[in-house]
Symmetry: C2
Subunit: 401 residues, 2 copies
């Protein structure tokens, strides 16, 4: 798609009126989003020296800093590498009424990782699928995701890098790698282009911003931001999902397929199974030792393990967890009792509170009650409407995938 983008030049004076009207509008819009408790994510991706930083500064200048958070996305650090790769993005999710503005995002993350050889093609593809699931889950939950790609040409990039390098105050911002990347612009172009095409979904379509000219870029960014927040607030007021107009044809995503394994129906469970005390002791000892060995193996191989408990009240979960836990090295597991959600949890996607409780690779996380509450207790007690709970089956399968 990138090849379809036309770089334009806009005179400052021509843009002045529209810009100042949109800036004024932005204040009202941000307030409307706040009252409507609309959570908004704006991602700024694009070429090095495309002007992401200064465009972000222009955008937030008229917004209330108590309700937005600007986060630069760098390479994952060591603790982040010990979690699923999207963990750090889940943790940053804004609450309803808040703005999360990302300087770089999961897109820069995977393109850079792939270009540096940190991940191979298979992993890159898996991550594209993860992103599409992530954005769809958020959109289905009422999040507005505005994805901006600041596009500049190879010549423009070279010019800007040189200018930055020649000024002693900005020299620190560029390094040799930037110039190398400018030389292999075509290769990176193809990777960005593929990434954009494969993630231009109905849940979160792309806004490609021609950014050779800064005024044009500001204008297009302001248009995209103001129109989509207005649209999302209007849709929310009508109780409808918001469909952002797409700049390019939408990519159809084939939903993940889950092979459901046949299980015994609850009503048909054999409730008469019994063990003698001696059989029980022997089996318990045997399996506890085996579990301890397996925990060691998981630790060595850095496999994160989740044990999820659901069941009737007084069904014996507590004692069972105790017997599992007592077989394990206590430094390598944590039991997470899931109580009623806190206000900060209710203000975000319901999976957020489980994502944030995930432990490092090699560790065991034992959940005492789980995300299945969404489809079990919540619709029964009318905490969640049946329709929303029905959507959660897919989300749960995706989460566990």
């Amino acid at each position: 798609m990138l090849e379809l983008i036309e770089q334009k030049k806009t005179k400052k004076t021509d843009a002045a009126e529209e810009l100042s009207s949109m800036r004024a509008q932005l204040i009202d819009i941000a307030n409307a989003a706040k009252s409507a408790k609309l959570p908004v994510i704006i991602t700024f991706d694009g070429w090095a020296a495309a002007g992401k930083g200064s465009q972000i500064a222009k955008l937030i200048k008229y917004m209330d800093p108590r309700f937005y958070n600007v986060e630069p996305i760098r390479k994952p650090n060591e603790p982040e590498k010990r979690k699923p790769w999207m963990h750090r993005y889940w943790l940053k999710l804004p609450a309803g009424g808040e703005f999360l503005i990302l300087d770089g995002s999961w897109y820069s993350d995977i393109v850079k990782s792939y270009m540096n050889g940190d991940i191979d093609k298979e992993e890159y593809k898996r991550r594209i699928a993860d992103i599409n699931v992530f954005e769809r889950q958020l959109h289905d939950d009422g999040y507005l995701i505005i994805k901006l790609f600041l596009h500049i040409t190879q010549g423009e990039q070279r010019k800007r890098l040189k200018a930055l390098y020649e000024d002693k105050f900005t020299r620190w911002r560029v390094d040799e790698q930037d110039f190398i990347n400018n030389k292999r612009y075509d290769k990176i172009f193809r990777r960005y282009d593929k990434t954009i095409s494969r993630t231009n979904t109905a849940s979160a379509p792309w806004n490609i911003i021609p950014a050779n000219d800064r005024v044009t870029a500001e204008l297009e960014i302001m248009r995209a931001v103001t129109s989509s927040i207005t649209g999302a607030c209007d849709a929310k007021a009508k109780g409808k999902p918001y469909k952002m107009p797409a700049q390019f044809p939408i990519t159809d995503i084939e939903p993940l397929k889950f092979d459901l394994v046949r299980t015994v129906k609850l009503a048909k469970t054999d409730m008469n199974k019994e063990l003698t005390d001696e059989e029980y002791r022997t089996a318990l000892d045997k399996y506890q030792s085996r579990l301890f060995e397996l925990q060691n193996l998981c630790y060595q191989r850095k496999i994160p393990v989740i044990v999820a408990y659901e069941g009737w009240d007084a069904g014996g979960k507590g004692g069972n967890i105790k017997r599992v836990a007592s077989a394990l090295d206590p430094r390598g597991y944590e039991v997470k009792p899931i109580a009623a959600p806190e206000p900060s949890e209710l203000a975000r996607h319901y999976l957020w509170r489980f994502w944030k409780r995930l432990e490092n690779d090699g560790h065991f996380t034992i959940f005492d009650r789980t995300w299945y509450g969404r489809v079990m207790v919540e619709p029964i007690e009318k905490i969640t409407p049946q329709a929303r709970a029905d959507m959660a089956y897919r989300e749960i399968n995706e989460f566990e995938y």
Copy 2:
């Protein structure tokens, strides 16, 4: 004090009865702590190969894993190094009714850092003072801190290290450094001894456990744990602070002194100051540019900056924050609006929710309402009793120190 510890030998058969009675008791005690919402921290420090891991395993065997969390304390990782050194301990604080069990603690942390030359003597002393403040603040807030030091002799340590090394299944647990440290046992002994003497406070006195003999160690640990939890629950039921019996004479801590600067009384503030629009514009531009430069400097020098806002409702905090924030690079600050505390926050020391919001060094954290709520709005609205609020003055000065 360590030289006063007598290593004892206890026959397994002699200890059996007392141990099994204490184990049974521990189940009830842990339940009592849960009902009383008593937060408990148990720290295991001591020599390498003193048996911390296996003693922890013995202790928790009879406890409900949903209410304890065992955390090994390692060297701080990169993100942890970008926060105040005690930040990671604050984050781990248990809620009322929960147990935090640490394998290594802030004590191992500073002794190892000092012995490795990562911190100098001055920093070591500052950290001792930090620890004493930390433990006193927690104790004053109703936390029970049980500090255990597992003490073994040089000969016993050498024997154990050799045994671990000679068994191919446990060889990975020892390295050359352990043997070097065994050779300089005396030097480390003196450092541990000093550390223990300087932190044997009334808020959290030490329990030194003779650990050459494993049965003796288990017995002494169980005695310390069961008696102090029982004592703390009883005291809490009577609404009194708990004073743990001390094994050794208590160290008197000289409280930190704060030089209070004379400020203008609110009633005497000159409310008639005025600026013309032009003066305002000029001054605003000048100071915003200056602030931007200073932010850069703080970033380069890794100085973390906190800006704290308090004031009357409708006093103009929002607009003021906006003008400060708009001068800053948005990637280098975050505004934290402080709303009513969540249940997880109410269940911990009130400073916890501010500690957890602290940003990395080099960053600006702007608090819209602060820890001063504790001494301003909370006693006025009777959320916090006046007596507890009065204690908070000292805690606030210590927090800001």
